[in-house]
Amino acid sequence: MTLPVLLFASYADAFGARTVAVPVTMPCTVADVVLAMRSIPGGEKLPAKPLVAVNQAYAKPDAPVHAGDEVALIPPVAGG
């Protein structure tokens, strides 16, 4: 299946899109999603360990991802 992943700021620029459809095999983890994204054009610009949010909360690499989860890649934050 493909999992939609939300992109922002410099990551949206890298992929040229606000959302990218990532091919994954369920069940999978956050690390699996990031690994799959590296094969998508623009994915080569990702850092070694990009931050990921699942359902609007930061998630560790070994956290599970389920179909229907809202997954987002979080560039280095710069609010304030």
Partner: protein, 155 residues
């Protein structure tokens, strides 16, 4: 968790100019003896480059959740704290207020300590990004984790 009496707690993302008076009203109360506030403003120079403006972008629902999380954690640490946090998104000019935090407490030490903790926490965990525009036409997504070599592009 926050259970502020009186005015409603104010933790929000906005695309409009921030009204400081609204934050002060939200945290004011007869039990309050000290209100510490922090305003972040767009300045004309960053890393020695003249700045003409900043675009703020956010993952809005998650940013609001993280800001509420900060507020809840601070109220847990300092019972009685009344806190307001508002972050603005969109295109801001030099001098515009990008973020405002108000922390009210019976005593000044918790008020000031909570204010400081709130802005420090916001800067490391709230998913908001800023793209600085420079007078030479270049722009950069600011990366505080890599200040020495920011990603720079031409539009």
């Amino acid at each position: 968790m926050t259970s502020q009496t009186g005015a409603q707690p104010l933790v929000a993302i906005t695309h409009d100019p921030i009204e400081i008076a609204a934050l002060l009203a939200a945290v004011s109360h007869a039990s309050v003896g000290a209100i510490s506030t922090f305003l972040g403003t767009v300045r004309e120079v960053n890393d020695d480059r003249p700045v003409t403006g900043i675009d703020y972008e956010g993952y809005e629902p998650m940013a609001a959740r993280e800001m509420q999380g900060i507020a809840d954690e601070l109220v847990t640490e300092w019972p009685g704290l009344r806190i307001a946090i508002v972050h603005r998104l969109g295109t801001l000019q030099v001098g515009d207020v990008s973020v405002a935090i108000a922390c009210a407490h019976a005593r000044r030490a918790p008020s000031a300590d909570a204010m400081r903790r709130a802005i420090e926490s916001l800067k490391v965990r709230v998913p908001i990004w800023k793209r600085e525009h420079y007078v030479d036409g270049e722009w950069t997504w600011v990366d505080p984790t890599n200040a020495a070599a920011p990603m720079k592009r031409r539009p």
